[in-house]
């Protein structure tokens, strides 16, 4: 992966997608020694409504820190899909929460549908870890960092009392994508 790889996490403000972006950037830059830059929507646009976090990963130093053409995009809500699921590369991938994104943005990219919030609530047990489910899913989908590097970064970020919960969330998110891709 010599070239830059661009990932965008989008959803509603408060869903933890900025944290998901930071964890991915830590997985890449701290655990795998790659170059990574994370940035996020900021200010009025980050409060309520749609929010986004972008991560650029490369083997080379990263100059321009913002997205140019997105390789992989996550949209947790319809509003975020409408606002941020654009500029996706031809042959790229869009992961949506299939319970919330009904009107799927059209384009020359693959769409993977998973009920992310429902998975967090029913399979993991807490809706609050939907961002970690989504992170596991995005890593499985993009292979941009190893499964282990991602998990290590998740566990380094969360309080001790929630280690198992987040580990489970990450793992289930990862497996859901593998199933979706095989199915």
């Amino acid at each position: 992966m010599a070239q830059r790889y661009e990932i965008r996490f989008s959803g509603a403000g408060g869903q933890g997608l900025i944290t998901a972006g930071i964890i991915l950037a830590e997985a890449a830059s701290i655990n795998e020694g790659k170059h990574a830059v994370q940035s996020q929507s900021y200010g009025p646009e980050a409060r309520g409504g749609a929010s986004k976090s972008e991560v650029i990963i490369s083997d080379e130093p990263i100059d321009y820190p913002k997205a140019t053409i997105v390789d992989a995009c996550l949209a947790m809500t319809q509003e975020s899909a409408d606002k941020y699921a654009n500029g996706i590369k031809s042959g790229g991938v869009l992961l949506i929460d299939s319970d919330f994104v009904k009107n799927v943005p059209a384009g020359d990219f693959r769409v993977v549908k998973i009920p992310i919030m429902r998975t967090a609530k029913d399979d993991v047990g807490r809706e609050i870890v939907a961002n970690v489910v989504a992170l596991g899913a995005m890593i499985a989908l993009t292979d941009v960092v190893s499964r282990e590097a991602g998990e290590k970064a998740v566990l380094a970020k969360v309080p001790e009392a929630f280690l198992e919960l987040n580990k489970k969330a990450y793992s289930i998110g990862f497996e859901k994508v593998k199933e979706a891709l095989e199915g």
């Binding site: 930071i22 950037a25 830590e26 830059s29 701290i30 170059h35 990574a36 830059v37 994370q38 940035s39 996020q40 900021y42 200010g43 009025p44 646009e45 990263i62 100059d63 321009y64 820190p65 913002k66 140019t68």
Partner: protein, 377 residues
């Protein structure tokens, strides 16, 4: 042993850089997009015995920094354009009273409240001319998280070495993005402290030019007692209107920077050697420019990047040389054309100079620079 690494926001790197440099006082008033500098220092300074004070406004914050610095501390404030505007009178005071201190300006748009959450580079001339009167100016413009750390250290060093306020300016993009940083080990980066007097308290004169252009500075609260004023002053610190003393004092202060430019100046050049087009860019804009250079080089375009890291004093000599070498210089800026005026001044008409300007809160993307370079080449 492997170095400590972290994924850090630019503003956090500034705070840790300040701590590395020995900063032990922060006086500030939170303002977007600089607030994280204060946030981190409010947690970290007490751990090292330092003081963090949130003042009632930006003016008081600057006053507290001057007071702390005169009491022997290494003092910092961090703000954005509106705060820097408020601080100008006291920045002038720090200049004339020769008070070492560091001012961080995380730039957003303007004037006035402008667009608090958007990036800008429209305070770069303010850094030079913001406060009235002739005075020396040092301003640094880092463009990465690692560089914010190291340039904050260098800002303290220059402030201490030349006994004057030093400004560090970076835009919201660099301030808020997160990148991997390697923390330098203690001793790895040079840390300079001010020269203290060796004469007895009775013989001490705070502005005595016989010690050179940078007279030693004693700390209030020690045995040394001295007078500080915003008026032009004689060697003993008391006001004077004697023409020769006023003239000598003002010229000495300017000489601190003009006479030491090689020590203060820091630039990065990328593929400028054979370049027919030079991009002059700083801060986040230089990152877009470097991306553009790489893309254009793939197409065989002879283009290079000149990136000032010290913006003031302006790198006159090198820019003049590049202007003679190049057909054109392209100057992208997140303002309506500020540093381009300096490039034009020193180029003296020896090449074409074209600006790319953006003030809509969005970054200048590499595509804009690529298109402009192709047009001028």
């Amino acid at each position: 042993m492997a170095k400590k690494v972290a994924l850090l926001q630019g503003n956090s790197a500034c705070a840790y850089g300040a701590l590395y440099a020995g900063c032990n006082f922060f006086g500030g008033y939170p303002i977007t997009p600089s607030t994280e500098v204060a946030e981190v220092l409010s947690v970290e300074l007490p751990k090292v015995g330092g003081k963090f004070i949130q003042m009632e406004d930006e003016i008081a914050a600057m006053a507290s920094v001057i007071g702390a610095a005169l009491a022997g501390q290494k003092a910092l404030t961090a703000t954005s354009g509106p705060g820097v505007s408020l601080k100008q009178e006291l920045i002038g005071y720090a200049c004339i009273a020769e008070v070492p201190c560091v001012i961080i300006n995380v730039m957003r748009g303007g004037p006035s409240t402008g667009m608090p959450t958007g990036p800008g580079q429209s305070d770069v001339q303010q850094a030079k001319w913001g406060t009235h009167g002739d005075h020396p100016v040092i301003a640094l413009v880092p463009s990465s998280v690692q560089e914010i750390f190291s340039e904050t250290v260098r800002a303290f060093n220059l402030a201490e070495k030349y006994r004057m306020p030093v400004q560090v300016l970076y835009d919201e993009i660099v301030g808020h993005m997160r990148e991997r940083i390697e923390f330098p080990e203690p001793g790895e980066l040079e840390v300079i402290n001010r020269t203290e007097p060796t004469v007895s308290p009775e013989d001490y004169k705070p502005f005595d030019p016989s010690f050179g252009d940078v007279p030693p500075l004693a700390a209030f609260g020690t045995d040394y007692r001295f007078h500080v004023t915003g008026l032009n002053k004689a060697a003993d610190g008391f006001p004077t209107t004697k023409a020769n003393l006023v003239d000598d004092e003002q010229r000495r202060q300017i000489r601190k920077v003009d006479g030491n430019q090689p020590d203060i100046e820091l630039n990065e050049e990328y593929l400028t050697e054979d370049a027919e087009v030079i991009i002059f860019a700083y801060g986040s804009t230089a990152r877009s420019a470097r991306y553009a250079v790489n893309e254009l080089r793939k197409e065989g375009v002879k283009v290079g990047l000149f990136r000032p890291i010290t913006l003031w004093p302006f790198p006159e000599k090198r820019v003049a040389e590049l202007a003679k070498q190049a057909k054109a210089i392209v100057v992208p800026e997140l303002n309506l054309g500020q540093m381009i005026l300096e490039v034009e001044r020193v180029a003296k008409g020896t090449c074409d100079i074209v600006g790319i300007n953006r003030v809509d809160g969005e970054p200048i993307n590499p595509g804009q620079i690529i298109a402009q370079v192709k047009e001028v080449k």
